[in-house]
Assembly symmetry: C2
Homo-oligomer: 225 residues x 2
């Protein structure tokens, strides 16, 4: 039995939710897109440490500065043609990022729109379509009752940028005035970052940073679709 880690790394690019995918440079699924990840280096390597290592090797990312949580274990027999492989999947959220560098096992790494994965247009290797779907659903749910949305933003952000995160992750449009009112109604969600303003679309907007509360009370719930 072999143990692996796989990474669902989400970020916002041009207002759309993207996931980092590599192109497999080895069999099985040679040439197919897949999540970054790999086997544990040895029997002594910690799972979380392996996730950090793969983030560094495959995506050139520093896990200590990212939001990172365990998504779950994927171990259905037959999910990997090489034998019994149990993969521990992690969800990572990255703020706006430079183009990723391809890692050791990967002949190419790139950000792909999550929609293309969910709609089945990319057909990832192994059970990675399912892992991406689970990661996105986790993020969607956590946006409701935690401050996870701020992990997609830089250190400071405008309310409009925060709204863009909610819209991209949930895949909906939101009314700006209503969104502003809801966000301001959650104590500790965000805090003013000082007197500076950011000018986008002509109007200077107030800057915020993540507040002290991780749990949103009241929560910000998805519109009923």
């Amino acid at each position: 039995m072999l143990l692996a880690v796989d990474l669902v790394i989400l970020t916002l690019r041009a207002g759309e939710l993207h996931v980092l995918l590599v192109e497999r440079g080895v069999e099985p699924y040679l040439g197919r897109r897949a999540l970054p990840g790999g086997f544990l280096n040895n029997a002594e390597e910690d799972i979380l440490a392996a996730a950090h290592r793969e983030l560094r090797e495959e995506a050139d990312l520093d896990g200590t500065s990212l939001y990172l949580e365990q998504l779950g274990a994927y171990g259905t027999p037959g999910r990997d043609p090489r034998g019994r492989v149990v993969s521990i999947a992690y969800l990572a959220i990255a703020p706006g990022l430079p183009e990723p560098v391809a890692g050791t096992d990967a002949s190419g790494a790139s950000w792909q729109p999550v929609d293309a994965v969910i709609a089945g247009r990319l057909r990832l290797a192994f059970d990675h379509d399912q892992i991406v779907a689970d990661g996105v659903e986790r993020a969607r749910a956590k946006l409701e009752h935690t401050s996870l949305a701020t992990a997609f933003c830089g250190d400071t952000f405008t309310i409009a940028e925060l709204q863009q995160v909610y819209e991209a992750v949930w895949g909906v449009g939101l009314d700006p005035r209503n969104f502003y009112r809801k966000v301001q109604g959650v104590p500790g969600f965000i805090a003013e970052a000082g007197p500076d303003r950011r000018t986008t679309k002509g109007r200077p907007a107030r800057l915020f940073r993540a507040g002290v509360r991780r749990t949103l009370q009241p929560p910000i719930t998805r519109p009923d679709l």
Copy 2:
């Protein structure tokens, strides 16, 4: 590397949250209390199937009729003195149950108050204290935004019984009138079970069953402590 499953099975007994523990009949941690669970039977056994098997063998429970979700993987090197063991933990919720029967590896199985585990009075084997704490926190959070509380109840229940679930899992007291208003304000959370009444404490009370919605909107949030 060995793969195991461990089960955090929660239930309500006498209005208190309990977890099923076994007394270990073998080394390591001989005689210490631990979560029910065990190694996968062979390289072909599915993880979820193993969780169902352990539920049956160690707790005489039918997993198909219980709420069951994966809690996560626990794989820190050194967590098991026998070597590298990665355990996939599951959270199961059981409605009111008969005394459990001891399973094959267990010299005794019993329901213990969760408070005693959280407070460190039982000192479970391996990292099972942490797994219990994680399972309880998962249940506490899910009571807010899902219909998980109904999994603790029988097929039909009174609002007072549902309130008892919230109070036991959150470890708080709640105002009955306020609770009633909140529960009734969530469409699809519960549904009237018919004209029958259940008489407890002298007054006949209306009976409900779980409704069609798994997600509570608006959610029922924990009081700020």
